[in-house]
């Protein structure tokens, strides 16, 4: 999955630190980006650019790894060989995405170990949607289809960004995400057009997931400030509202087509403006959940923390081997 988050990819105050940059280098850097060139790890980049990218790629990586948990718990319960194998492959891909993204972020100077430590300590964030529970198989299917769909909207935009290693990782990731989308769609269609039990399960899951889906792309543009420089540097490629509109354009018809209803009485496309109108999502809740107070935050981080602690002896052993072999870089 999963698009870079949301409120946290935007600096709280107006960007500072540019006064320490060499004006000529900075001008050349901006000119390169304006020409559509990619910035590579050894190239000059402003400290602020590096910092924002690390934060963004790291959050994306964490979202993949934490995002593998809610669907992962359904691998052992997936009904039938076909679903069981596909669910495994799908979730495995997500872990693979995390691996790719941690590597991309490492090119900016932060190690995987440091990033995972910050994840466990709650210092760095991940997509808010994974703090909601997946009580049924249908919930897992909704994630596979619609959260991955949202992620694709986000990632296709970001793949056109300015940082080379991130763009290349995203291209590979998007190719796999399109399989996830097919898989998720197929699983949802099977249930939405299946027996009464299946249809009820699917509708209930969609009802549960719709509000988190609506906040997936982050707060409304009117609430976000100072994105201008991130847009100019092609760190952030599309506004939250634009992504949300694009998602609704693409998926609302598909959802209705299979006989599901969307639990928002205000949802309609305004034919004059061409824009979707919807019930204002609960942004306070989004902020609360991102900051740690969602239904599953503690559980998700506890799983990750336990995995780190239980596997520490293995990493110590690998490190000892590597040091013996005179390799310097620690394996995280």
């Amino acid at each position: 999955m999963y698009g870079s988050v949301s409120t946290h990819d935007i600096p709280a105050q107006a960007p500072t630190g540019l006064e320490n940059e060499d004006p000529q280098l900075l001008a050349e850097f901006e000119a390169r980006i304006a020409r559509g060139e990619k910035i590579e790890p050894d190239d000059y980049m402003p400290a602020l650019y590096r910092k924002q990218l690390i934060r963004m790629i790291e959050q994306h990586a964490h979202s993949e790894i934490i995002g593998s948990l809610p669907e992962g718990t359904w691998i052992t319960r997936a009904p039938g060989f076909r679903r069981k194998m596909a669910q495994m492959a799908k979730v495995q891909d997500e872990v693979g995405h995390a691996q790719l993204l941690y590597s991309a972020a490492e090119t900016l100077g932060k190690t995987r170990e440091e990033m995972i430590t910050d994840l466990i300590n709650g210092k760095s964030k991940y997509s808010n949607v994974f703090n909601y529970p997946t009580p049924t198989w249908a919930d897992s299917n909704v994630i596979s289809w619609l959260i991955d769909a949202g992620a694709i909207v986000n990632q296709m935009a970001n793949a056109k960004g300015s940082y080379g290693p991130y763009c290349r990782a995203l291209e590979r990731i998007c190719a796999e995400e399109s399989f996830h989308l097919k898989y998720g769609h197929d699983a949802v269609v099977h249930m939405a057009t299946g027996t009464p039990t299946q249809r009820r399960m699917m509708q209930e899951a969609l009802n549960r997931w719709w509000p988190p889906i609506m906040t997936f792309f982050g707060p409304a543009d009117k609430m976000s400030q100072h994105t201008e420089i991130l847009m100019r540097w092609k760190v952030k490629m599309a506004s939250n509202d634009d992504c949300r509109q694009q998602f609704l354009d693409m998926y609302v018809p598909k959802i209705l087509e299979i006989g599901l209803t969307i639990p928002d009485p205000k949802l309609r496309k305004n034919e004059e403006t061409g824009k979707w109108e919807y019930t204002e999502p609960d942004w306070d809740e989004l902020r609360r959940v991102i900051n740690g107070d969602g239904p599953c935050n503690k559980e998700r981080l506890a799983v990750r923390r336990a995995a780190e602690e239980n596997g520490a002896w293995v990493r110590r052993a690998l490190q000892a081997k590597q040091q013996a072999a005179k390799h310097v870089r620690p394996l995280a």
């Binding site: 790894i65 052992t76 009904p79 872990v95 995390a98 995995a307 596997g311």
Partner: protein
């Protein structure tokens, strides 16, 4: 050809792969490094796929559909060895189980590649290619960790000592053993066990781990006859949780 004996063998093979594949998939999100989450998931997918091919052979011999066979039987109807049903435990246990099991499985399918039952021989020729990678993976990690820190060596040695009795259960014979050998379907558990011992000993010799004297280890038998640990039925209940919600449904 003795079909009852053949089916008995196929159930043993298929059930082992299904249950271990299921267990390996539980490592999702829990591995010591991401690369191992991914490796265990790959192997789990392969094992599920292998079991499906074997259940398909059984289906062609008149048994129920693979989904029905895998998702609706209860523990006493399973022919897997107790080794594969044990919970994943710590990484040391899961690695050692994987090492002991996959060495046996690769050799088993190499032997089956010349089985007199051609459909099985065909499947075996395909699967042994994939199983080679599983063995390679296990060997790499056992050698790597088994020659590293004292802590890791101790963890693996403990796991090896505790797992070995269950691993010997892989070679438990059933009442069809003679028929299987006489029909040229499979050369038998004794032959396999001898090859396995040689194969794991070679790898362990390159580590600081010690293989306990097998004459002092009592094998845990019963799995091939439907006697299982308390861990199998909950695993099966979990596996069938959604499938059973609506047996008429197509998922």
């Amino acid at each position: 050809m003795n079909t009852t004996a053949l089916k008995d063998l196929l159930y043993r093979l298929a059930d082992d792969q299904l249950i271990l594949g299921h267990r390996n998939s539980e490592w999702n999100g829990l591995g010591p490094i991401l690369e191992e989450d991914i490796a265990f998931s790959s192997m789990a997918q392969d094992k599920l796929g292998h079991s499906l091919q074997l259940y398909t052979l059984l289906h062609n011999l008149g048994e129920a559909e693979p989904d029905t066979v895998a998702f609706t039987r209860n523990a006493p109807q399973f022919h897997c060895t107790q080794l594969v049903e044990l919970p994943i435990g710590d990484y040391a246990f899961s690695l050692i189980r994987h090492f002991l099991y996959d060495h046996a499985e690769l050799l088993r399918f190499q032997l089956l590649a010349t089985s007199s039952y051609e459909p099985l021989a065909q499947v075996a020729r395909k699967l042994k290619g994939e199983l080679k990678y599983h063995v390679l993976h296990a060997n790499t990690w056992v050698k790597q960790l088994g020659t590293s820190t004292e802590e890791a060596i101790e963890m693996l040695q403990t796991a090896l000592n505790e797992t070995l009795p269950y691993a010997l259960g892989l070679f438990e014979k059933t009442e069809h053993e003679e028929a299987i050998i006489a029909d040229g379907i499979f050369p038998g558990e004794d032959e396999l066990k001898a090859q396995w011992l040689e194969s794991i000993s070679k790898v362990l010799a390159q580590t600081n781990l010690e293989l306990p004297d097998l004459s002092t280890v009592a094998p845990v038998y019963g799995g091939r006859h439907g006697e299982h640990t308390e861990h199998l039925q909950p695993l099966l209940d979990e596996m069938a949780e959604v499938f059973r919600l609506d047996p008429t449904a197509d998922w």
